[in-house]
Each structure stands twice: as C-alpha cells, then as structure tokens.
C-alpha cells in the first residue's frame, strides 16, 4: 500500500510527529495511529456470524487467521452502505488481536504533531467521546483523530468475550 505511505512530509523535522492513516466515513474524515494498522485489503468472502450485532459483518480468512470484520459505517450510522469491489477493509492490530474495519475509503498517511491535535469540544453526554483524541485541521480538512484501540474495545463493539459477558 505504498500509495498511502507517501505522507506530506510537512513536519519531518518535528521529532514528536507521529503518522496517521486517514479514512472517510460518509462526510467525515478520521485519522488513526498508523502503527495499529496491519494492512488494507478489499472486502470479500465474509462469513456471517449467527446472532452477532448488525455492524459485525462476520469473519474472514486472513491467510489462515480468522478475523472478524466490523463495518464502521453501520456502527457510525452512515446512511448509504453498499459493498462494491472498491469497498475497503483496514486490518488493525489492536489489543493483540486482529480485527478488520470497513470504511468508505482510505485517504492517505499524514504526520501530525501533538500541537496540531486540538481537543474536541464537549459534546452532550449522549455522545461517547472517549475514543476521540482530538480534532486536527490539515489543509482545510477536519480530521477526527481517533484512539482506535479504545474504540474497538468498547463494550458496545461486542468484539470480546469479557465485554460480551458484562453486557
């Protein structure tokens, strides 16, 4: 996926810059720590899991590994959900597990320094912001910088046993 590795190089000198992979969900653009990303692949051959929540599409065979696939578009209540040959799955390595997420598209890899990431405004209590690290503005785009690990391990993701047990 060298396409995504180009980066913009804007803050090369900045020691504390870290790289983020950005992807879009509908109109929103998200950024996640690139070190959590294992690979990016197309969406195909998903085996449905009985009685799983709607946003868990099922499991795929990733070179012998059984990997669950979460459709973040469903999770984030995007209106238009379709599966095409261009539908993208980001395979993540979080909490020593391998999980795939379906997104609308992957944009690029950018470097962000901590000062660039501004705290998100306080939303109402109805909106879970624990996994939002902050907002960053790059070339006029607003990026929602996300703690993907936190997001994937929330209880309502229902990806883990202990979580499921508590629910």
């Amino acid at each position: 996926m060298e396409n995504y590795n180009a980066g913009n190089g804007a803050t090369d000198e900045d020691q504390v810059a870290s790289e983020f992979l950005t992807f879009t969900l509908g109109q929103e653009e998200y950024a996640i720590d690139i070190l959590k990303v294992q690979e990016i692949r197309g969406y195909d051959m998903v085996t449905r899991i009985a009685n799983a929540p709607e946003f868990i599409k099922g499991v795929i065979n990733l070179r012998g590994l059984i990997v669950p696939i979460v459709d973040l578009r469903i999770k984030f209540k995007q209106p238009k959900i379709e599966y095409t040959p261009f539908t993208v799955v980001i395979i993540l390595n979080v909490m020593s597990r391998v999980v795939g997420i379906v997104v609308d598209s992957v944009s690029d890899v950018i470097a962000l320094t901590p000062p660039q990431i501004r705290p998100a405004p306080d939303f109402s209590a109805s909106f879970d912001t624990r996994f939002i690290l902050g907002l960053a503005s790059v070339e006029g785009r607003m990026l929602i910088v996300t703690d993907i690990e936190q997001l994937m391990s929330t209880r309502d993701m229902e990806l883990m046993d202990d979580v499921a047990a508590l629910a």
């Binding site: 085996t47 899991i49 009985a50 499991v59 065979n61 999980v99």
Partner: protein, 819 residues
C-alpha cells in the same frame, strides 16, 4: 579444548532425561527375585551414560551421584551381590534426585547437598551391606571404589584360572583370601561359572612379587597371568571421563569411557591380546608369542582364553614385539587389525589398545609404521571429551618404541555412549522445536487451501481449461493431501509417553497405602496429538490415584470379599472411530451408590433415589465432592474429579463411569484424535455452510411430514426408529435465511452428544471432510452454538457447530415445550 560446551547442554539435558526415564521404567519392570541380566545391564548403561556425559560437561554433582549408583549397579550386574527390593527403592530415589539435579542445572531450584549425600550414603550402605555378605560367601574383600585407596604400592593381577581350580571353587576362594591377607584386595573382574575367563585383581600394599607369582601358579594356567606394579595411585575413578583411559596400570571399567588408546604405565606391558570376560568378540590378528616373564618388567604372555571369547588370533609377524590388544569386559566387539612388524620393539613396552567397558564397538585401525611411533597423545577423534585423567604416566614415553596400536577410531554405539553427541549422527530421530512443526502444519494448511482454490478455479473454466492443467492440479491435490497427512503425523506420539509414568505412580502409592496393586497396560502404541499428550497426563494420573486410593481395597478386605489380595488396575488406550478411548479400570470395591447419594444430599445437590446409576456416578464430578472417610495426602479433599472432567472437556473429550459394587469401576475417557483437526460433515443452510463434527453424527435422514410432531404446539419432535427426538432448526437458531422451510424438503441430522440425542434440521448435506480447527475466540469471542471455525477449500470461513450446546438447546426447548 576451546569448544564451548554449553552449546551441547541442551542435548545433554534431554539425553539424560531420556536415560533417567529408561532407567526408571527398567527398574520398575525388574523382577527383584530374578532380575534379567539384560535389564541390569541396561540400567547400568543408563546410569553410566549419565555419569559419562555429566562428567564431560562438568556437572560434577550428577557425576558424583551416578558414580555411587553405578558402582552398586555394576556389582549387581556382575552378580557379586543380590538384588533386594530396597535397592530398587534406593535406585528410584537416586533417579529422582538426578532429575532434580538436572532441573537445577536447567535453572530450577538447587538441590541441597544433604539430600545428595543422603542418597549417596544410602547407596553406599547398600553396597557395603551386601559387600560384607558377599565376602563371607565368596571374596575375602571387595572394595568398591578404588579411588579410596591411597596406597602407593601394589600389583595389578590378571590371570586365567585353570580348569582344575575352577572345578573346585574353594581353590580360588582360598587364593583370594590368601591375597586378602597380604594387602587390600580389589576384585575388578572375575568369572563366575566353570568357563575360564580373565580375572582382574588389584592388590594394594607391599607384597613381594615372588610370593604372588607362586600363588598364581597354583590357580592360573601356566604363563596365563600377569603382574604389573601399580605405578601410581589409581586415578580417581570418577574423574576419568576422558576419551581414553590410560590410568596407569589400572585399566578398570570404572574409568574407561570411550576411546582408549593405551595403558601405558604398565611397566611390564606385555604383548598380550586378551579377550576378557566371556563374550569379547574380538578379532585379534596379531598374537604375540608368549614370552616368559622373570622380572617385573618382562613382558607377559598373552592370554587368550577359550570360553566365550570368540577371538581369532593370527600369528604375529614378529613375536618379539609386544602389541597387545585387550578387550575387556563383556561385549567388546573390537576388531583389532594386524599390527605389522615392529621388529625393533624389543624394549618390551608395547601398549595394548584397551577396549574396555562393554559396548564399545571399536575399530582399531592398523598402524603400519613400525618402530617410532610418537604417538599416544592424539588418539582422540572426537573433540569434546575432557582431558584424560591420570596423566601421571605420559603415554609417549612408552610409545616411542612401540608399534603403537593407536588411533583407535572407536565408533560409539549411539544410545549408550556417554561420549559423543556428534557421533550420534546415525540416530534415526531428530529433535525439532514444536513451534517449527506447528509452523509447518500451518503452512501446509495454507498450501492445501490454495491448491483447492486453484482447482476450483480451473474447474469453473471447464472447457477452457486445458486437460493438462486439470491433470496437474489433480495430481497436486493428491500430493498436498499426502503432504498434509505426513506433516500432521509429526505431531502424533504414542500414548506410552503418558503411560510410562504410571508404573511408578502405582508402585509408590500402593507402597504408601499398603495395598498390593498390579498395573496392566495395553495399547501403549496408540498415537495421539502431542498437545493432547501433555494435557491428558494430569487427569489420567488423578484417575489412577483415585482408583488406587478409593477403588482397590486393602488386601485384608479383598480376601474377606473373596478376592485375591492383590488388586489390578487396567489402563487401556485404543482408537475408536474419530476418538482415542482411554480406560482406567480397577477390580476394587466399586462406587457406593448410597454413600454418594447421601453425600450429595449433604452437599445440597439434587439427588433422589430414582436417579439412574449413570446420573449418580456423575455426581462425583461435582466440585468439592469426596466420599473418602478420611482425608489423606493421596485424595479425599474433594478437589480433583471436577477438575478432571473440566480438563477433559476442555480437550473436546468426555468421561464416563461404569461401576459395579464389589466388581470394580471403569472410567472411560474419550478424546478427539488431535486438537487441530476434525472430521466434519458440512451442511448448508441457505447460502451458509456449517461443519458438524462427524463423531457426533448418528445418521441423516429426509423426514416424512408425518414424522414431525409438536408438543404443546411449540417444541417439535421427530420420530426416528421409535424414539422421539427434539428438533433443532438450525436456521432459526442462527437466524439465517434458509432455502427450505418445510421439514420434508430438508435433511434431519441426528446428533448424539453426551448421551443425549437431537435432530438438527438443515437445508441439505454438502460433503464430508477433514477440517483444520481455527479459533474464533483468538480475534473474536465465543459464539453460542459455535465451537470454532475452519477454512474451506474455496478460502471461505465456515463455522463449526458446537454439537453439545445445540443438543442442550434442544433439551431446553423440549422441556419448555412440555412445561
């Protein structure tokens, strides 16, 4: 030698562990009354091998213990003393100690010196006790460890008794007694029985040679004896783990490990070819002419005795020379090739290649050079032994004039040589890390899937695909299946790996409990997955302990019940269908139904007198359940059976109990063949494919509409062969979109899990295959009704059904419906 020994440590640890295990199993198999020579020898060899290699690697604590152990064993196998039960106990204890010591060297807890000394002392004591008795009967004095002697004078005596003296045993005994009076006598080897063979004695003390010679003339064949002064204090036996034994004048089996060039220190080294002790199958080509010996330094005649020494002695070209080959001790299969003509070797100091210690298959290569053979110093082909002990006498000093029958390129027999892991190249097995094997299995699994995908693609192309491509792919399919099977078999081990520990468990425990128990095992060669082997050990041990403690009664009770005083525990393993079945049976008292029921009520468990035996027995698997009247350190605390059941279930197995009062109890453990693979039947529901473990499938049938009945209009049952079975509709359970909804259009798969049956309704059957089990929980979580996942031929994931859960679901449904 600048070789880093630590790189061999792991090999040493593993080998030693194997030797210990072998020793233990042999010890347990010993008939104390009449031990087999072969077994004693094998035990000795095992101890000896450990001693040898531990010495080589510098683990002196191991060496010290094995030395004492070996000393006693050596005397046993030579029938100097008789085997007694407490010796076996002591040996087993020593074995345990060695295991601890090994563990300590591998980073385990250190073993206290007292513990070591205690065992050693015990062994020495046994040796002494018996030694004293033996002395009374046979030998004036038998001292075990020559190393103890600090005497700086004495004689090495070797002779072959005359047939006459052998015929009258007293003659020899008197001779030994006589010698015993003159100094401290040590018998290195002696013959038993009427066949003349070499005796080796060592006499410490200031004794005149003439006196000895006179005595010898009485008992030994004329000229068939040799006296050599003990030049230096005998090398401490337990330190000599060199490649060669050159303890001057003291070729003694204790010290001889491996490749021996010479016994150079013997001043009167004689041209002697000796095949000692019975069965030396040596081929001695050059036989020096016997030369009469007058003084101490004169060469001594060769001794080649008849007996079982199958030696072939060809004449030596130059009789004056003195190459001597001595094959000592038993089964030395040495080939001594001619040592041509060392004409000038009149110096009379030739040294004999000494092939000692049993199992050395030595090939002594001829050294054609006569005269000045510089020599002895490098006969060692293998780089890893510690320097020879007792360098007191430099070999070279002697060798200069000798034809030097050196460079004994002795090949070590693999399993029993302490010496040389590198030489063990001929061994038929290799050690490989488990993770490497697992990686291989994974890769092959991938290969098989890729191959299947290719084949499916080619078949889709139909006419477009050239026939050669299809043929090739079919061939590839066969090959990869074979490959997969072969790779899978790497992980399979015989169950004897588990079973082999039980004789010891039974022995120790029956001793502790004062019961007489015989353990009968069968089916030890049954193979199962290594992962299973590791995990089944503890549950099985627990079952056996249980049988011993609770099952088998005390001898008195047994006799009172009209049984033989000794109980029997049977341990059986066999393949049965896709399972391994392991049975632990005993002919003891059986389970006590009333007692279990009473206990269950006491514990507040649901128990009624109407329960079937099967259900009552199942109660003992409840946590905290024990019917033992007394808590012993063996069992009775009530932890255990529930753990046993849980462990076995975790392995995908189950356990059943059969018991009859007064007759005995039998526990049957059923396990899948392997953790990694299962025989599955694939079924379709709509677009989805599910795998049912084949071992749970009883039959499949297409029902008639009239076969299906409802109960309370909710629970559905189907009549199969007179039985009403609850129906589980898979598409309902899994909320899938089926192709068929009418029962008579689909298929009912009758399942049997844990004794309960149910019929599973699916759209249709797809096929039957072996599937590799993949964990769903590794990256996801447990799914109700699903036990795992697998990857199908087309690369898709298919879920494996949790049959027990589905059947339980059906049960619940049926009950709900009935309620």
């Amino acid at each position: 030698m600048a070789i880093d020994m630590s790189q061999f440590y792991q090999v040493f640890f593993e080998e030693s562990a194997e030797h210990l295990a072998e020793m233990e199993s042999l010890l347990l198999g010993l008939d104390v009354g009449a031990p087999e020579d072969e077994d004693l020898n094998a035990i000795f060899r095992a101890a000896h091998s450990i001693k040898g290699s531990s010495g080589t690697f510098g683990f002196t604590d191991l060496t010290a213990v094995t030395h004492v152990l070996e000393t006693l064993l050596d005397r046993l196998r030579k029938h100097e003393i008789g085997l007694r039960p407490e010796m076996v106990d002591a040996f087993l204890e020593a074995g345990d100690l060695l295991k601890l010591l090994l563990a300590a060297h591998q980073g385990g807890e250190a073993v206290s010196a007292e513990a070591q000394e205690a065992i050693c002392e015990k062994l020495r004591q046994l040796s002494r006790d018996e030694g004293a008795e033996a002395v009374a009967a046979v030998v004036p004095e038998t001292v075990v460890a020559p190393a103890e002697s600090g005497v700086d004078g004495g004689w090495e005596i070797e002779f072959v008794p005359t047939p006459a003296s052998l015929a009258v045993p007293e003659t020899l005994e008197n001779f030994l007694e006589d010698l015993g009076r003159q100094g401290r006598l040590e018998v290195l080897s002696r013959s038993s029985g009427p066949v003349p063979s070499l005796w080796q004695l060592r006499l410490y003390g200031q004794v005149a040679r003439e006196a000895l010679a006179d005595s010898l003339d009485f008992v030994a064949e004329t000229d068939a004896w040799r006296l050599s002064p003990l030049a230096a204090p005998a090398a401490a036996a337990d330190e000599a783990f060199g490649l060669f034994d050159d303890a001057p004048g003291a070729p003694q089996d204790e010290t001889a490990y491996g490749f021996f060039g010479d016994a150079p220190g013997l001043a009167p080294a004689a041209p002697a070819a000796m095949a000692e002790e019975g069965d030396g199958y040596g081929f001695f080509d050059p036989l020096p002419e016997p030369v009469a010996a007058e003084d101490a330094l004169a060469p001594i005649p060769a001794v080649a005795e008849e007996g079982e020494g199958y030696g072939f002695f060809a004449p030596l070209p130059d009789p004056a020379a003195a190459p001597a080959a001595v094959a000592e001790e038993g089964d030395g299969y040495g080939f001594f090739e001619p040592l041509p003509a060392n004409a000038g070797a009149a110096a009379g100091v030739a040294e004999p290649p000494v092939l000692e210690e049993g199992e050395g298959y030595g090939f002594f290569v001829p050294l054609p050079q006569a005269g000045t053979m510089p020599a002895v110093s490098e006969p060692a082909p293998a780089p890893l032994a510690s320097p020879p002990a007792a360098p007191a006498v430099a070999p070279t000093s002697v060798a200069a004039a000798a034809p030097a029958p050196l460079a004994p390129a002795a090949e070590a027999r693999v399993e029993s040589r302490p010496k040389a892991p590198p030489v063990a190249a001929g061994d038929s097995s290799i050690r490989v890390g488990v993770e490497k094997v697992d990686q291989l299995i994974n890769l092959v699994g991938e290969l098989v899937i890729t191959q299947a995908m290719l084949l499916a693609t080619a078949q889709e192309m139909q006419e477009a695909a050239p026939e050669r491509l299809l043929n090739g792919l079919t061939q590839l399919e066969r090959n990869s299946r074979d490959l997969q099977e072969a790779v899978m078999s790497i992980r399979m081990l015989p169950i004897s790996f588990v079973f082999s520990r039980f004789p010891r468990v039974v022995r120790d425990l029956s001793g502790k409990l004062g019961k007489q128990v015989e353990l009968k095992m069968s089916g030890e060669t049954t193979e199962l997955d290594k992962g299973l082997i590791e995990k089944i050990t503890d549950p099985l041990t627990h079952l056996i302990r249980n049988s011993l403690d609770h099952g088998i009664e005390s001898p008195e009770k047994r006799v009172a019940a009209g049984k033989s005083p000794g109980g029997t525990i049977t341990l059986k393993a066999a393949h049965q269908g896709g399972n391994i079945v392991i049975e632990v049976g005993d002919d003891g008292a059986g389970l006590n139904r009333q007692k279990i029921l009473a206990k269950a009520r006491e514990k507040g468990l649901a128990a009624s007198d109407q329960m079937s035996d099967q259900d009552v027995w199942a109660l003992i698997f409840e946590p905290g359940f024990s019917t033992a009247d007394q808590v012993t350190d063996v069992s009775g605390r009530g932890v255990g059976m529930d753990v046993v059941r849980r462990n076995i279930q975790a392995l995908g197995g189950r356990i059943e109990i059969e018991s009859m009062t007064g007759i005995g109890t039998r526990m049957t453990v059923r396990l899948p063949l392997t953790l990694a693979i299962l025989d599955g039947m694939s079924v379709a529901v709509g677009e989805e494919i599910y795998i049912i473990p084949l071992s749970y499938v009883v039959e499949s049938l297409q029902p008639k509409p009239s076969d299906i009945k409802t109960v309370s209009n909710q629970g559905r049952v189907i009549q199969v062969r007179g039985e009403y079975l609850p129906v589980v509709v898979l598409h309902e359970v899994f909320a899938a979109e089926p192709k068929v909804r009418e029962f008579h259009q689909g298929i009912m798969v009758v399942l049997n899990a844990d004794g309960a049956k149910a019929a599973l309704f699916v759209d249709g059957l797809v096929g039957q295959h072996q599937v590799v089990i993949k964990s769903l929980e590794q990256n996801y979580r447990k799914v109700q009704g699903v036990s795992g996942a697998t990857i199908m031929g087309d690369g898709r994931v298919a879920l494996i059904l949790d049959t027990s859960a589905l059947v339980a679901m059906a049960k619940g449904q049926a009950t709900d419906g009935a309620a």
